[in-house]
Amino acid sequence: MIEVKYFGAIAERTKCEFEKMSFSELSLQKLLQDLNEKYQFESLTFSIAINQKIVSKTTNYTLQTSDVVALLPPFAGG
């Protein structure tokens, strides 16, 4: 299981705050591509964290069971 957490405007788009995906192995790039197809994130800005650590969007990383990915858009209100 891989968990993906959504925040802010991203969570508004996905209409949920997290999803669990039953992959045992999956590249980060493939995950982002799949999510983009499903939710059309293109116009939204966000950074990506894997297991509470922000990584580059182009990172070559193979997600393993129990990894948690978070999509963190910037907030603007105040």
């Binding site: 925040f7 939204l44 800005t45 509470q52 907030f75 603007a76 209100g77 105040g78």
Partner: protein, 356 residues
């Protein structure tokens, strides 16, 4: 003395003591923005005895501010926020020196203003100002205490603390349309909580206690009380000094234009109307000399455009088109302008035109 009594309950804390109180009295903190976040930050910094507080904001108080900007009174609607904030602080703690600036923070005044303070607090509700604050903090080597809200969620972090990572290390480029409170909605409690986290970071830095939220961004959700911290590293791509700051901000002055003033150019073959929305965005608009390149593809498809042509750029509401102008200006385009209000404004005028 009065001060000793006033601060007694905090000076008896071993982490603060007389020495900590002295540090507070010598500290100079600038709060950028006097809205919801500042309404939590200011009274707590003032009551704790921060020696000098600067506030910069150009707004006046509106009735719709009062549900979250709790330092303002109903009778003060229409008055300048900075003046009312100063009044509030002088009544709360006359030992604090308050400097107010009833103007907008900009690339022109940021650096010289920041030089006079030790800590800069971002209490704004606008992404482009956050980049200016971040970059000016880099130039002046000051820590930036960041706070921001999206509906029931908030983010907090301290950037550029002892050369630590900055806002651009999480969000490198200004390329987004994140909603502010006016557009997204907000309740007072969420800005209050996040503002309080910011005030806490300020006091910790001044006192040298605890662990400053540097290299970490805290995300808080008030609906389920979930709180997460995400670590991030410093990226050296985003270093700035006085010269590169001036260069960056002087170049990227985005020129905007009202569609009304260029209505008679919609059939002019010499000019180009560039739609930077995604292909599926509605309403469609159909001008003779128009092309569509979504903002995300712009840099890759830039060779489709002529650097010497007059280009009017539009999007849905006029935010992405400004980013597109900056991007084209970086590629030495000579005459590009962003259409104010985007398609929504254009449609209205086109409708009028047709019915005439």
């Amino acid at each position: 003395m009065d001060a000793a009594k006033r601060y007694n309950r905090q000076t008896i804390l071993p982490e603060i003591g007389e020495e900590g109180q002295y540090k507070l009295s010598k500290a100079k903190v600038l709060v950028v923005g006097a809205g919801g976040l500042a309404a939590a930050i200011l009274p707590y910094l003032a009551s704790a005895g921060v020696g000098e507080i600067g506030i910069i904001d150009h707004d006046v108080i509106e009735i719709s501010n009062l549900q979250r900007q709790v330092i303002y009174k109903t009778s003060a609607v229409g008055k300048a926020k900075v003046q009312e904030a100063k009044l509030m602080i002088s009544e709360l703690n006359p030992l604090v020196k308050v400097n107010v600036f009833a103007e907008k923070l900009s690339r022109k005044n940021a650096v010289s203003l920041f030089e006079n303070y030790d800590i800069i607090v971002d209490a704004t509700d606008n992404i482009s100002i956050k980049y200016i604050i971040n970059d000016a903090c880099l130039v002046t080597n000051k820590p930036m205490v960041y706070g921001s809200i999206f509906r029931f969620q908030g983010q907090v972090s301290v950037f550029n603390y002892q050369n630590g990572p900055t806002y651009r290390c999480i969000y490198p480029d200004q390329n987004n349309n994140a909603l502010n409170c006016e557009d997204a909605g907000v309740i007072g409690i969420s800005v209050g909580i996040i503002g309080m986290f910011q005030a806490n970071e300020v006091l910790k830095m001044i006192l040298g206690i605890g662990e400053v939220l540097s290299g970490k961004i805290l995300v808080y959700n008030i609906l389920n009380n979930e709180q997460q911290k995400y670590d991030f590293d410093k990226s050296d791509f985003h270093l700035l000094n006085k010269e590169t700051f001036d260069e960056k901000y002087n170049k990227s002055e985005v020129e905007e234009i009202n569609f009304e003033s260029i209505l008679d150019e919609i059939n002019n073959d010499e000019v180009l109307f560039l739609d930077v929305r995604n292909n599926d965005e509605l309403p469609k608009i159909d001008l003779k000399n128009q092309i569509q390149i979504p903002l995300v593809n712009l840099e890759n498809e830039i060779e489709k455009l002529d650097k010497n042509q007059v280009i009017y750029i539009f999007c849905q509401s006029g935010i992405r088109s400004k980013i597109a102008v900056e991007s084209l200006q970086r590629h030495q385009f000579k005459d590009v302008k962003s259409i104010v209000g985007g398609v929504l404004a254009m449609k209205q005028l086109l409708k009028k035109e047709i019915s005439v």
